[in-house]
């Protein structure tokens, strides 16, 4: 008898397939297929209008998809108390009742959630010297963000969806918040998707990336894997057709002396004419964002050609 041991499957927090959302005639998100394993902190990156907010709102169940399917925390986003309890979503506009105090929000949360850690919010806000009894409308933008973030965490969700949560925070507060997030994930049972433009911040805490541009998914995967799949090639030769045939050139910059390419590899590069080097996250992100602005890129390229 051979005991068959089931291979422990890595549970996925988010799995979408062909997800699209159309507003009137414009697609805010097209054919989005992503997977986020449980326990990751995923950086959702993309230029303005790329569809980041739409994706987060779809995952939170605030928006209905036009087409496609998704599974979040093992279920379809729906109006069900158990599903809602498993999701924490913080919108970019920091939705808080301006005339209510932080304490009012904490008490409301206690009435509206099955497991609610109001004490953690009080502790955090006291540490940050944010008054609990003042109307949140009178607090500064950064303080409001802190209140909203603490409230979102107090719900003890399994999946946390944060839409530019640190935009209003100063660098120190930002670092503190990201540290808290990393601790919460390390404690287990939490997955985070975090959208931001601050790649340096994301690089510090995130281990997964979803890159959107022009309403489509450009990259999705573990950051280490994604970085390993890309290389920068620098060479003197002007003919890059062989490289372009074998690999996917994300960005190409030509000067009279040399050609610099950021490529997504399809196997090893065995062309001695090019020197290869690793790519950083920021560089990679900028290269993919640059694709979104082809005219600017074309201009750069033509300047290089003229000389």
């Amino acid at each position: 008898m051979i005991a068959v041991q089931a291979v422990p499957e890595v549970a996925t927090a988010i799995r979408t397939s062909g997800l699209s959302k159309r507003y009137r005639r414009v697609y805010a998100l097209s054919d989005c297929t992503i997977t986020v394993p449980e326990g990751r902190i995923s950086a959702l990156i993309g230029p303005n209008g790329a569809g980041k907010t739409t994706l987060l709102r779809l995952l939170a169940g605030l928006t209905q998809p036009t087409t496609g399917e998704m599974t979040v925390n093992g279920g379809i986003p729906r109006q069900d108390p158990a599903f809602l309890a498993s999701i924490g979503f913080l919108a970019q506009e920091i939705p808080l009742y301006r005339r209510l105090s932080a304490e009012d929000h904490i008490r409301a949360g206690a009435h509206l959630n099955p497991c609610w850690d109001g004490e953690s919010v009080r502790e955090r806000l006291t540490t940050l010297t944010i008054p609990l009894d003042r109307a949140v409308g009178t607090l500064s933008g950064g303080q409001r963000s802190q209140v909203a973030l603490a409230l979102t965490l107090a719900k003890r969700p399994r999946l946390l969806l944060l839409d530019e949560p640190v935009a209003a925070l100063d660098p120190l507060a930002r670092r503190n918040f990201l540290a808290i997030l990393a601790d919460a994930v390390a404690a287990g049972g939490l997955t985070v998707v975090l959208s931001s433009h601050l790649v340096a911040d994301l690089e510090r805490v995130c281990d997964h990336i979803i890159m959107l541009a022009a309403s489509r998914v450009q990259l999705c995967g573990d950051i280490d894997t994604v970085l390993a799949e890309h290389q920068i090639l620098v060479g003197r030769r002007k003919d890059t057709s062989a490289i372009e045939r074998d690999h996917r050139v994300v960005q190409i910059t030509r000067t009279p002396r040399q050609v610099t390419m950021l490529v997504r590899l399809n196997g090893p590069v065995i062309d001695p004419a090019f020197q290869t080097s690793d790519v950083g996250l920021e560089e990679l992100v900028l290269a993919y964002m640059g694709q979104d602005a082809p005219s600017a890129l074309a201009q750069l390229t033509s300047i290089g050609d003229d000389q």
């Binding site: 109006q79 069900d80 108390p81 979503f89 506009e93 939705p95 808080l96 509206l112």
Partner: protein
């Protein structure tokens, strides 16, 4: 859920309670004065056997308070405008809905509890104001018999509760559809006035077919109690409608439609001979009206119409809030 609703709307609730308390004091004081004024006038006219003309000679209360009471026509609209319209609209406009709807409470439950409390509040305020006005108008109505007439019918009994429910539901629905507070308020006001006008002018007279009584002109007839009159006139023996008198007339018939002998005067007073009386006997008066006994049936029908409209609007709000993106 209820706690959040209480916390969000308690200021409005306090203001509404204070206004209601002020109105209660005012109507209680003036109402008691009017009642005693009426009863002493009744006792005085009883002694002198002149109570028949009391309705045209006695004026109860003051014009200012009377005007205020008529203004309670607007109470349901105010409830819908300042309470109903901003409710869903502000959540959508300022995005605070994303706080409420991302807690572990479904939008269905959020709407059920919110709409439930708001409709209850609307019914309570509409009912309280209506009860006060109904009581306050008691003596005046006994005197003027006008509670069935448009304008009076609308501020007494149970219809104000129906209007308040409708206005609140209209506000909620407009807010969910338009997603902005000011337009929602404007639509609520316009919609409320339009529906009320249509129902009052074109539907209410036909809830039951009106009664027309034809009577001999010489034995005049007048319905009893607070009836609602649509038309009254006189027909000659040939059945032709006689226009309303505009000058000298006998029993409502202008002299021009009567034989010349009827114009006989003694001194300056008309003294028609017996032959004229015989001619008049051929004339018939008629009156078309809703009898006073139908008052509560009409109240019930009108309340039902507005309660049904409110239910419909809440249904639309639910569909919009649950199906569409929020």
């Amino acid at each position: 859920m209820s706690w959040l609703i209480w916390r969000l709307h308690r200021t409005q609730l306090y203001i509404a309670a204070a206004l209601l308390a002020a109105l209660t004091v005012l109507l209680l004081v003036t109402g008691l004065q009017m009642a005693s004024q009426y009863h002493s006038a009744l006792a005085a006219c009883g002694a002198s056997h002149s109570c028949g003309t009391l309705g045209s000679t006695l004026f109860l209360g003051s014009h200012a308070v009377g005007f205020l009471v008529i203004m309670t026509l607007g109470v349901p609209a105010v409830l819908g405008l300042f309470w109903g319209a901003p409710l869903v609209a502000a959540e959508l406009e300022t995005g605070t809905g994303q706080f409420a709807w991302m807690q572990s409470v479904t939008r269905k439950r959020w709407l059920a509890v919110t709409a439930g409390w708001m409709l209850l509040a609307a019914a309570a305020w509409g009912g309280a104001v209506s009860a006060l006005v109904t009581w306050w108008s008691g003596p005046d109505n006994a005197l003027q018999l006008d509670q069935f007439k448009p304008g009076r019918f609308d501020i007494m009994g149970i219809v104000p509760v129906g209007y308040a429910l409708f206005a609140m539901a209209l506000g909620l629905c407009a807010g969910a559809l338009l997603r902005r507070t000011l337009p929602a308020m404007a639509v609520t006001l316009a919609g409320f006035i339009a529906v009320r006008a249509v129902v009052t002018l074109w539907l209410r007279p036909h809830y039951m077919s009106a009664i027309t009584v034809t009577y001999k002109l010489l034995s005049p007839f007048s319905p009893t109690g607070s009836y609602w009159q649509f038309g009254q006139g006189v027909r000659n023996p040939a059945g032709q409608l006689i226009p309303a008198p505009n000058g000298a007339a006998i029993d409502g018939v202008p002299l021009g439609f009567l034989p010349a002998s009827c114009a006989t005067t003694v001194g300056r007073v008309l003294r028609p001979p017996a032959s004229c009386r015989q001619v008049l006997a051929g004339f018939h008066g008629f009156i078309t009206y809703q009898p006073a006994s139908r008052y509560w049936a009409f109240q019930g029908i009108e309340f039902g119409i507005f309660a049904a409209l409110a239910a419909l609007l809440i249904g639309v709000t639910a569909v919009v809030l649950l199906r569409r993106d929020v």
